[in-house]
Symmetry: C2
Subunit: 369 residues, 2 copies
């Protein structure tokens, strides 16, 4: 298989359009309905951060600095070959970064409402989803029909159902997959060229896991401590804390963040008009950019019960103001609802604090249950 | 005159309601139309920051940490005596801080759209202004009538016109008032009990300034370098950089921020239905929370011309992501539009960097013109 630079160059030479995005708020059904390829843009590696810091404030979170460093140096193949980037105003840092990025790349920024609860939030967001549809049609010189949207909804809902099936296995004890391996599978969805092939692969993996379970194979011994990870995205390259937890012998049974299961747990309603249904699904994402963010709180308590978790580890990138403050709300919510053990880890992409985090995680694991 | 704690206690004993706010987006006409007293809440002093940091992340801007520190320790008389606080989602830090503040005080948070340009932004904001009207009516047990709003618009527009008149004098050379004294006058508007009396005072001050000008009195010698200050709010207690500039011998002829002239330069349209006119005026505020923020860019170039400024000093509190990135956009805009000299100062409320900033300001002043 060729490297992504070559693969994308070849794809582009066929006339296929490419759309890049950073965030799970980007409605991928519209990209698929436009017969374009949608890719998640590089943002989870430490290496380009120094390049990002040449322009952005150093006290920004590593995810934003990494994104910008990749973009400005053309080191991300998906960014380089994108016909258009979908940005979004989830946080102050990204919102303003996109202003700078617009100076050298075609970026369309979707404006988020400040919460998901009111009719005015829903209208604001629906207008943005409609606007994106028009922008994609113009930029990619295509038409996004109702039928294409309905079809795209089915394809992506199918992927979500497969991921949900996979996640069900993580409820077992012993746990068949490590959190790190599970993350790799979820992560793959960001770089799909042939969606049918991808679904078939996930289907095969599900069958493999079934076989493993039947044979009594598992990633951790029975009775291993069970941890739910939440907070900021922890994609491949930035899975440090998940690795630390599992190196300490506990199983990460659920990853409740944007590189984990968050994007897969709700489906687009296939019985509603497609555009409105797409808007509704994406707006229900329980991100800390929403104020307040009760869905996250409720979900966490349910997940702890369903996955029989012993504790919650809440990861926050340094400089991420929204998740950092919401940590306090979450900690209190978990305390009130069953005194659920909670650990707050504030870190970045560097390896300098690994030993320190390991010590804290070990102490946490000894304390729980 | 009694201290503010006693003054407010006495006011509250008469049955008068008090509304606190932090931001110039809070529509003060509605407070006035509800026959309540509106006060700006304490946020510009260093002393309570340590108390704020007990709960909030240390890498938040001093303004948020100071606000929260004042609030949580009941050291701000206006906060203590407020029947309701109007918050707003201008930035990630404040947005999430209000979630914590809501746990011990009645806070209503107004949701900002992400820009001021689209119809959907205007609708979103209008819905928020309408909602605030209902909330104030419920909380303060009053009715806000069309007539009361129209009357409040006239009163506050009159104050804005007076401030504009005052600002006109700053175009003169020599400059009759120092920027520091001008700031004190603008600042006074945040703590008005009797608005008629306040307008009369400003009127008298305008006459005094006229007399001074006639007598040839001035705050700086003719030909002093002329600086426009922009960026984050620099209210009394946080006027450090303005003082440094003037200590270096330059006149701060215009303060283009939220504690300066920003809130006074546009009026509420007295010929439109009051609620919609109020919404329109406030939404046009060129804050860096808007993305993009072209009004600020355009204003700055016009102001430099009108006030014959030699340079622009852009002040950003450490941790203020939106103003920090927008600085890059502003710097470039000023360069393209007449190569206007520009200095970026990132600081906080502490005095530790005064000498360092002074050295940079001196070098800047030597360089300009």
């Amino acid at each position: 298989m060729s490297d992504p630079f070559t693969m994308l160059k070849n794809v582009k030479e066929t006339g296929k359009k490419v759309v890049g995005f950073y965030c799970v708020y980007a409605p991928q059904e519209l990209v698929l309905a436009a017969d374009a390829l949608g890719f998640s843009l590089c943002a989870t590696k430490e290496e380009p951060i120094a390049d990002g810091e040449k322009t952005l404030p150093r006290n920004f979170c590593p995810l934003i600095k990494s994104s910008y460093g990749f973009a400005v140096t053309d080191k991300c193949p998906y960014f380089l070959h994108s016909d258009i980037i979908i940005g979004e105003t989830t946080c102050d840092g990204k919102k303003k970064m996109f202003e700078l990025m617009s100076q050298f790349k075609r970026v369309h920024v979707m404006k988020m409402p400040q919460s998901y609860s009111d009719d005015s939030d829903k209208q604001y967001w629906l207008a943005e989803v409609k606007k994106l549809k028009g922008i994609l049609e113009d930029e990619l010189q295509t038409e996004i029909t109702e039928d294409n949207m309905a079809q795209a909804i089915k394809v992506l809902n199918n992927e979500r159902r497969l991921m949900q099936q996979l996640s069900e296995f993580m409820k077992l004890d012993p746990v068949p997959l490590s959190g790190q391996d599970f993350l790799k599978l979820l992560w793959g969805r960001n770089f799909v060229v042939d969606r049918g092939e991808f679904a078939a692969q996930i289907h095969d993996i599900i069958n493999d896991v079934k076989d493993s379970v039947a044979k009594g194979e598992s990633a951790f011994p029975q009775g291993a401590k069970r941890i739910i990870v939440t907070g900021v995205p922890t994609g491949m390259g930035a899975e440090k804390v998940i690795k630390i937890i599992e190196d300490c012998g506990a199983a990460v049974v659920y990853i409740e963040n944007c590189s984990g299961m968050k994007q897969f747990v709700t489906l687009v309603d296939e019985n509603q008009p497609p555009l409105a249904a797409i808007a509704e699904k994406y707006l229900s994402t329980p991100c800390s950019c929403m104020s307040p963010n009760p869905i996250r709180m409720d979900n966490m308590v349910k997940l702890v019960e369903e996955y029989r978790a012993d504790g919650v580890v809440d990861i926050v990138w340094q400089g991420c103001h929204t998740y950092n403050v919401e940590s306090r709300v979450l900690k209190e919510h978990l305390k009130k609802n069953g005194n659920i053990p909670y650990l707050h880890v504030e870190t970045d992409y560097s390896q300098g604090d690994v030993e320190q985090i390991k010590t804290r995680v070990q102490a946490f694991l000894e304390m729980v249950n």
